[in-house]
Symmetry: C2
Subunit: 289 residues, 2 copies
């Protein structure tokens, strides 16, 4: 690996959590002609996804490996992308570089996700890297304003979406989650530590056991970022799996904040949405910033 | 059944949902010397609990039975108590009295629980009954200020409880739920349509699968009424089952709004809390009303 010559764009370092989003971003960036170095997280990213892509596997709490490899390759820009189950602080095994950074990391482990992530961001920038959002290097991954597939939301769906956006804005300062399920003017489920997929499983279960009064096919998954969200990481995202969960929960569709939500594998996502007869809409979330 | 003579307190009509709370309230009221008529809801209250207590079984959507029996017995005051899974409007089979009230009932079925319950309350009062809160006829069921058992909350537990109260106050206007789980300054779970017990099962699952960073025994179940809550029904409640759920989820204890939360079977509840080493505290929720 050699440092880039002057005038050439530096390679992008992509630290990859789980799911299909990291590779979609990598392919988008590569298609724009920029070299990408993949740093999947061991135990989190799936090894088979990275076969033949020359990954440099990282362990959580071993920043030293990353810093040496990224510097040697001349990387200056860094993107964190994919799902990361919040690790238990006491299960981590630290390397020396990380131990040096430990007081800052320990402080980041108290409080919500924003707190954890912004703490990690400061540490990375303290080492001379620039942290970018995935949408800054691959803007086409953002959901635009409008309906993505064939199915249109009804006026009631739009009313439910607006209620969901209001709820998420009102609770954003608590740094809890980025998704709710709303049906017929009622918030049925609120996402917290369990994540969106598990929340959808819960709604499917409530419906199956007859605990929901809403008719079949009604209700909306609503996702938008917290008002305080640092847009460089953890923007809300949807993917094919989300659409399958929405269909299993008997919901009418998914409404996300346009321009502030990432769609992984959007062609496949739309194909499944059309087949399952659910809508996917990017809407103005109404948030004043 | 005969109407009470002048000057005698009228018998209390108790419409009973599921759980142990209705019978606890009935016994408290009877111990004060007031006659109680039990109207358990068929398919919701457990038949064996009412054996030997001369229950008058009601069917949902058949208000006529209730109105005739309650009037014949001279009841003027009515309490609704116990859990009621929100029924599907279309699964109900209405009697004639109820059909007459239907436009009001249908309107009540849209929106959150407050909306449903306050609609039902108006309908009952329109028939000449006075709807009371369970705590008005049996004030000893409310959790007082202070620690109920042997185990004391730590300062961190109190900080977590305060965060939970703030979250519940901020979201009260959305009429979603009355409980959250908070651990180490992070809201881990938010109750909505699934109810408290299911939320605790979810937290236990998150802990078992290693998705929670908080150490064993940390975290608090926090319950308090919505700021807009009509205190005549659906005050938050805890019971022996709640304490078992708290222990299974590995939480340190439960903090409730003192004077605004009902404890079912409080002696048994405290016994289990002491055995499971979890605290039960009535705290000032900090809400300005």
């Amino acid at each position: 690996m050699s440092a880039p010559v002057a005038g050439e764009e530096s390679p992008l370092a992509l630290i990859c959590g789980s799911g299909s989003l990291p590779l979609a971003v990598a392919d988008s960036v590569a298609a724009r002609g920029r070299r990408v170095l993949l740093f999947p997280l061991r135990g989190i990213a799936a090894p088979q996804d990275y076969a033949g892509r020359a990954p440099i596997w990282l362990q959580l709490a071993k920043f030293g490996t990353f810093i040496r490899a990224a510097r040697a390759a001349g990387c200056r820009d860094l993107v964190l992308i994919g799902s990361l189950v919040r690790p238990s602080f006491w299960q981590l095994r630290f390397d020396l570089t990380t131990l040096r950074m430990l007081p800052g990391i320990a402080a980041s482990f108290r409080g919500g996700d924003d707190h954890l992530l912004s703490g990690v961001a400061r540490l990375i920038e303290g080492e001379g890297f620039r942290l970018l959002g995935a949408h800054e290097v691959a803007p086409e991954i953002l959901v635009p304003k409008g309906v993505l597939g064939r199915v249109q939301p009804t006026p009631q769906d739009e009313t439910d979406a607006a209620l969901g956006f209001r709820y998420l804005h009102a609770t954003g300062m608590f740094d809890v989650g980025q998704a709710v399920v709303v049906a017929s003017n009622r918030v049925l489920a609120v996402e917290a530590a369990e994540g969106t997929d598990q929340m959808l499983v819960r709604v499917a279960e409530l419906r199956r056991t007859g605990r929901l009064a809403a008719g079949e096919g009604r209700g909306v998954l609503v996702k938008c970022p917290k008002p305080t969200q640092d847009r460089r990481f953890d923007l809300p995202s949807i993917g094919p799996q989300t659409i399958k969960g929405v269909a299993s929960a008997g919901l009418a569709g998914v409404a996300v904040a346009a321009g502030e939500t990432i769609a992984a594998q959007s062609a496949r996502l739309v194909e499944i949405a059309d087949r399952e007869n659910v809508f996917v809409a990017g809407l103005a979330s109404g948030l004043q910033r």
